[in-house]
């Protein structure tokens, strides 16, 4: 230290003697004081100008400067240093750790940056580079396995599908349990514009998927109530704060170009349908074309023997396996992403503009998406008092032919997966007859579409134009008092056109729909902040604010059935038309405060409060409250700063927090009975409007906000010069008076309604262990392991303790997933085998197992989630990979149920040769055994279709989630070019499973993003992704 001060002094001395400035190139190297290894990414700026550069991976830099200029070296966590340029052409800078900034600064609620050491709760930050290197169409999927306690699952509905994020377990029995997404200070809309149910359909994506991964600077996950309490009722499921990139002070003018290409192929390891028996029924191959058509998807034929057997098209082909239809039908998917960003920054302004084109050609033929994202972030500071920031994004999204999933109509994978082994999907081509109708491959069900018909003649197109913008104005009255206003808007217009073509088997005349959405979120905050050292030891950081949030959604939809002119797919070309208009509005107003007391900068206490008023809980004459006050308190104690501790403990803090957050009703208009005019009746000669009750839910005029109380304790410890770190949290929360969408007896006239009845708890731990076992100038190894365990318990569903189910959204076959008292949320409930007291299975007289009552047969949400990531650096190369795992969950496999029914799965081979022996008891409890003849084994397996218990699988898995191998071109090579940095990486995602227990399905394959997991039904098949990404900076 002394040496360096002396050096600095010498520089200053020299400076005083040099009066004439001269331009020259100064090169140098920056190393860390503690470990002596090069520090990459240090900002170097010529003081008083906007010119600057940064160190490369090896800590080297080079800058055009002049004698007399002052170079400012700054980096997160290091003490900023100023060096005045003198005669030397080469500088060696050693930067010391900034104890004040030992903990990095993180973005907390309301966008307020705080030092993590002051936080009495857990916050996890994920850097943007982790999202942009291995890009996901839905950026939030990149959090998979990276954040302890955050359970991320992308739906099996293709790249444009939704992502489900559950933080610290399901906390409300209704609602979707999705976190609040705040982008640059503005809560954005995350509505799902339609998803599949048990009856089929497509996933129309969510709101967060609009955010371009290349624009994300970082993501801050506020997991618990204490962290998120300043967002009040909206924070009950946690908050994910996304900060987008802006021009960085000190970087001067820069151009950043990145390009990536990714390929997707079917993960063929998963799909292992039987290839020994062919199409047919009762053990016989079809003998006529009609029989073949009627046999359709039935693989109950004879053993494949290579003989010539007629198929659905009347052509005789070899009765032998045709190989893998899935790989045959699906293409290699391709995704191209190109981003260019231009930024400029100086002392008093910064600006960054970026444009990204994201193009995907899905594995499903004739399906894909394009997303163009534009982002402009700018800011200025006027004489250190007034600062203005503007963040805008404009996103154009166009998705073609989202896959139809779940039930069979138009569901490609249903057919491609179940197609009998002796049939090649090639023979399904072209999918259309000469007269323009579906080329049918099966007559057994009108709902079994030729997949080429589904791919090329069904269509759905969804277009979204979205603007997200926010502006912040801050005025610093004095150095301890400021006022800030922030207003933002998130608005999009979306249009969905969906066509079931003329000539479709189940809809001979076809039909279509046109839907437009206009969704608007407006959010405004005003706050007054106070930040002052009250005494030498004691400081106060406080704010008082108010917020208003308004949301509206207008939906106009036109639906028509029965095309008049075949082939003209226009909404006017239908013989029956229907239109619908919906207009939803809701608003929330709030005031809030926060006060943080710090004692000697090692003991912190933060108290917050927020009161929310809900429009959705307001109704004339209502007696229960429409508002709620949400308090929180948290404290942090940095004991390593308070006491003298051994050197090997570099940092230590303990923390504790308590909060009461909760929520109201999301959907407006739930409180009163409403009527509307719904149709026109003209059959009696005069046209008469007719109408009725329009509520789909049973209205409840006395709903009130629910409460979620949570406490958490935790510690952050760092050892051995920060080489080893531990972050541990224990939390426990209880939701009471939860608003539940209870299933009511349909005989009441309603199948569901909202009531303040529910109660559930979550208890869990989050552990993050990080270490740097090797760290020197050539080689580095960082490893981190995160673990989340959440024990959820549904304490109360309704007054009678009935199970609650989200209904059609979480339905398998004779099974559904939902809330059962005394069990974790996501219990899978379905039909069972009937067993006697000794566990013997009961059989019907024909040898098929008896279908038993609905019982709990599995648990759909994994209590254990974890991830381990490794990052190796050798000179200019780095290799990183992520393995993640979930344990403790089950999944109901609709694929298994249908594969049992149609004889497609390998388990159905048992008994086909010599008959199937079954033994158990009969309905009177007597010993029963019989042998089903080979021609009758189908009845046995078809009964398994109806017994959900037979189709439950363990969803435990360990996935090799991500890998990337990168090379950064050393600055010594780039020195003489205009390129300041260049990096190339090879990436892979979801390459293989290290462990998987499911058969024929991916253990993560929900067909929508409902909270109740654990139900699979023919989503889009699972893929592997690999590719290359390039990044250049100029």
């Amino acid at each position: 230290m002394f040496k360096k001060s002396l050096g600095l002094f010498m520089f200053c001395f020299l400076l005083a003697n040099i009066l004439v400035a001269q331009t020259k190139t100064v090169t140098g190297n920056v190393t860390g004081k503690d470990d002596g290894i090069p520090v990459p990414g240090v900002n170097i700026m010529i003081k008083g100008t906007g010119t600057g550069t940064s160190t490369d991976f090896d800590g080297n830099f080079s800058i055009e400067t002049a004698v007399g200029d002052v170079l400012v070296f700054s980096a997160m966590g290091l003490k900023t240093q100023e060096v005045t340029v003198a005669g030397e052409n080469n500088l060696t800078i050693v930067m010391a750790t900034d104890s004040e900034q030992l903990d990095e600064v993180v973005v907390t609620a309301l966008g307020i940056k705080k030092e993590t050491k002051a936080l009495g709760y857990a916050v996890t930050e994920v850097g943007g580079e982790e999202l942009s290197e291995i890009k996901q169409a839905n950026a939030i999927n990149s959090l998979q396995g990276k954040v302890a306690g955050v359970n991320v699952t992308g739906a099996a509905t293709g790249p444009a599908g939704t992502s489900k994020v559950v933080i610290r377990g399901v906390s409300t029995l209704s609602g979707n349990n999705q976190p609040l997404y705040v982008v640059d200070g503005i809560p954005i809309d995350n509505s799902n514009l339609g998803s599949a149910t048990r009856w089929g359909g497509s996933d129309y994506g969510d709101g967060i998927s609009s955010i371009n991964p290349d624009d994300i600077e970082n993501i801050s996950v506020l997991k618990g109530g204490a962290a998120a309490a300043l967002y009040g009722s909206r924070a009950s499921n946690g908050v994910i704060l996304i900060t987008t990139k802006s021009g960085k002070k000190g970087n001067g003018f820069g151009v950043d170009f990145s390009s990536s290409v990714q390929f997707e192929t079917i993960n063929t390891d998963i799909y292992e349908f039987q290839k020994e028996y062919g199409q047919g029924t009762d053990g016989n191959a079809p003998t006529t074309q009609e029989e073949a058509l009627s046999a359709g998807m039935y693989s109950w034929g004879a053993k494949l023997d290579g003989s010539q057997v007629v198929q659905f098209d009347g052509v005789e082909r070899a009765y032998s396996s045709t190989g893998d239809n899935i790989s045959r039908f699906y293409h290699t998917g391709e995704t191209y992403t190109n981003t260019i960003a231009i930024s400029q920054a100086a002392e008093n302004y910064h600006i960054r503009f970026s444009a990204t084109d994201f193009t995907n050609h899905d594995i499903t033929p004739n399906s894909g998406m394009n997303r163009k994202s534009f982002s402009l972030n700018a800011g200025m500071v006027n004489n250190e008092k007034l600062s203005v920031d503007l963040n805008t994004k404009y996103v154009l999204e166009d998705v073609q032919n989202r896959p139809r999933v779940s039930d069979s109509p138009g569901n490609i994978f249903f057919i491609v997966g179940l197609t009998p082994a002796n049939i090649s999907t090639e023979t399904y081509k072209p999918g259309i007859n000469e007269e323009g109708t579906e080329y049918r491959i099966s007559s057994s069900s009108t709902y079994h579409q030729n997949p080429y018909w589904s791919a090329y003649y069904f269509s759905n197109q969804s277009v979204k134009n979205r603007f997200i913008g926010s502006s912040t104005i801050k005025y610093q009255f004095t150095d301890w008092l400021y006022m800030m206003g922030r207003a933002g808007i998130d608005q999009y217009l979306a249009r969905i056109t969906s066509v079931e073509p003329y000539g479709t088997a189940y809809k001979p005349l076809g039909g279509m729909s046109e839907q437009s959405y206009n969704v608007k979120t407006r959010d405004a905050d005003i706050m007054l902040g106070f930040n002052k050292d009250l005494t030498e030891d004691f400081s106060l950081n406080a704010l008082l604010g108010a917020n208003n949030n308004a949301w509206s959604q207008e939906i106009t939809s036109l639906t028509g059935t029965n095309f008049v002119l075949p082939g003209l797919e226009d909404i006017s070309n239908v013989d029956t038309k229907n239109y619908d208009y919906a207009n939803y509005k809701r608003e929330r107003s709030s005031w809030y405060f926060s006060a943080e007391f710090a004692y000697k900068n090692y003991l912190f206490l933060n108290v917050t409060g927020r009161q929310d008023w809900f429009s959705t809980l307001s109704l004339a004459g209502k007696t229960s409250p429409n508002n709620y006050f949400y308090p929180s308190v948290n404290s942090s104690f940095v004991f390593t700063d308070a006491f003298d501790l051994p050197e090997w403990i570099s940092f230590g803090k303990v923390r504790a927090g308590y909060s009461d957050i909760g929520g109201g009703v999301n959907d407006p208009y739930q409180l009163n009975l409403t009527y509307g005019i719904t149709n026109t009746y003209a059959a009696n000669g005069t046209s008469t409007p007719i109408g009725g009750i329009t509520n789909s839910y049973l209205p409840n005029s006395e709903l009130e906000p629910f409460s979620k109380k949570e406490y958490e304790i935790g510690t952050n410890l760092k050892f051995f010069n920060n080489r080893l770190g531990l972050d541990f949290t224990y939390y426990s929360n209880t939701t009471t008076n939860d608003i539940v969408a209870i299933s009511t007896s349909t005989a009441s006239g309603y199948s569901s309604g909202y009531m303040n009845l529910g109660e559930l708890t979550n208890k869990g731990v989050e552990v993050l262990l990080s270490g740097s076992p090797i760290k020197n100038d050539k080689f580095g190894w960082d490893i981190s392991y995160n673990l989340g365990y959440n024990k959820n318990l549904v304490v109360k569903t309704d007054d009678d303790g009935n199970p609650l189910f989200p209904g059609d959204a979480a339905y398998g076959v004779n099974s559904q997933s939902g809330a059962v008292e005394g069990l974790p949320y996501g219990a899978i409930y379905g039909t069972t085998f009937v067993r006697d007291d000794n566990g013997n299975i009961q059989y019907e007289s024909n040898g098929t197992p008896t279908i038993g009552d609905y019982e709990v047969i599995g648990q759909g949400i994994a209590p254990w989630t974890m991830g381990i990531s490794n990052n190796f650096r050798y000179k200019d190369f780095n290799l990183s990979f992520l393995i993640d795992a979930k344990f403790g969950a089950d999944i109901f496999s609709g694929t298994s149920a249908f594969a049992n029914y149609y004889g497609a799965s390998k388990n159905t081979l048992v008994g086909r040769e010599n008959g199937l022996d079954v033994s158990g008891v009969d309905s009177d409890g007597n010993v029963f055994s019989t042998t089903l003849a080979p021609s009758e084994v189908d009845t046995y397996y078809q009964q398994l279709y109806s017994i959900a218990e037979a189709n439950i699988q363990s969803a435990d898995f360990i996935k090799f989630r991500e890998i990337s191998l990168g090379y950064s071109v050393p600055s010594s090579i780039l020195e003489k070019t205009f390129i300041s940095s260049a990096r190339v990486s090879l990436i892979g995602r979801n390459l293989f499973f290290l462990m998987r227990k499911t058969e024929n399905i991916d253990p993560e394959s929900a067909y929508n993003n409902t909270s109740a997991n654990g139900i699979e039904r023919f989503g889009r098949p699972t893929t592997r992704t690999y590719g290359v990404s390039l990044n250049f900076k100029f």
């Binding site: 108010a546 107003s589 709030s590 407006p668 049973l698 007896s745 005989a747 006239g749």
Partner: protein, 501 residues
Amino acid sequence: MKKTYILKFLAVLAISSFTLSCDKDYESMNVDPTSSDELDIIYEFPTAVLYTSGQRYETWRGNLIYSSTMVQHLSSLETYWSGDKYLWNSSYASAYWDAQYPQTIKTIEDMKYNIEANGDITNSNYAITRILRVLAYSRITDLYGDIPYSEAGKGYIDGNTRPAYDAQEDIYADMLNELSESAAMLTDGETADLGTADIIFSGDEGKWKRFANSLMLRLALRMVKVDESSAQQWAATAINGGVMESNDDIAYVQHEEGNGIVQNANGETFQADNTPRLSETFVNFMKDHNDPRLTIYGALPDGTDDYDVQQGLPNGYDTSTITNYDADFDLANYTAPSDLVNGRDVPMFFQTYAEVEFMLAESAYRWSLGTGTAESHYNAGVEAAMTYLSLYSSEATISSSEVSEYLEAYPYDASSALEMINTQYWAATFLNEYEAYANWRRTGYPELTPVNYSGNVTNGTIPRRLTYPTNEQTTNGTSYAAAVSSQGPDALTTRMWWDVE
């Protein structure tokens, strides 16, 4: 310094005044701008009638897949036509309940409640609403047995989300009472306030009164096996009160090719599913009697309506086993519902005059009730059953000479009166399969030969009821359990109260 304190004070003031008024307008904001908080009965009544007629979902499953095949009016080779093969498909079996309670029952109970709340209980609209209510519940109870009745459809009205099941015996007693009270409120020659919003009778109180009594007669006869004296007593009340007198009195709703509920749901099904055929049993019955209805009800799929080429498809076969019946099987050679009756714009019949005449014939035969002999009522019934078909289409007209030829060739025979009457009742209720199925269970006529499809769940007997929705076990478990313990297992083979052996 002073300035900042003032600013701070102002800010606090601004914030507190903001919060004081921050739920201003919220009460009006939370009212759906696209809907109303009340609805005149003239808009709600037609909806209730159309809901009662049924939508494709429950009509396909309840009326056609189950009821029509169990009574051997229709047949299909497809295995999802569970009723054809006595297979149990829980969601098909419960489809009628699943659709009717949240639609028909909710709407009717709402209308009834609103009339009561408005104090309009002397208005004839109230009587008409109650008659429609009985029609709706009678169909549900006749399919399922004990059902939620007194507490049903009142989720909003009184917050009852788990209605108890009433015993069918009590439901019948109340329905008969309701019909009797309602009929008494109506006056021949007057028009109810509903007017043309009454899409069944255009507000004609006389027709409603006769319909109420005809429905009463139907319910009365339904009880004949379990409580003959009550059956006779209520039949007498009905007949004395005045039942339908001609095809003009038929209770039906005209449909159209619009969207949603305005369409005939049988027609919607036939458009979507071309697998059903007329049952061999039904076709042979008509062919044996040279019945002119055959080529009105049916035609080959290509439209061929030559009498001689028509043939019925036997029940209980699937696409592979059918070759045992017909080695050169071709579905195109079997009679399907004809274009005259399979449209989306044809009427749906709730009760026809023909049915009433057959019931009068039976009442005369059993108890010598009413005027006229069993034979005269039988003949009038047959005539009405043939002539009313013109309501489907003017092309579906059967001449009176054809009727007389038929009656001459197959005259009423008192020695097999009940069989003849109820077989004709069966032939007359084609496509109103709920009624055909209920009357068949009551009378056992015509004598149908059950099928014995492999894997059937009834041991080769024709089902006696449909099963409750499986979700009743979870959403209304206590009531469900009570119903099952009182009525018997929730199975297709369990007999309901009026269906004693």
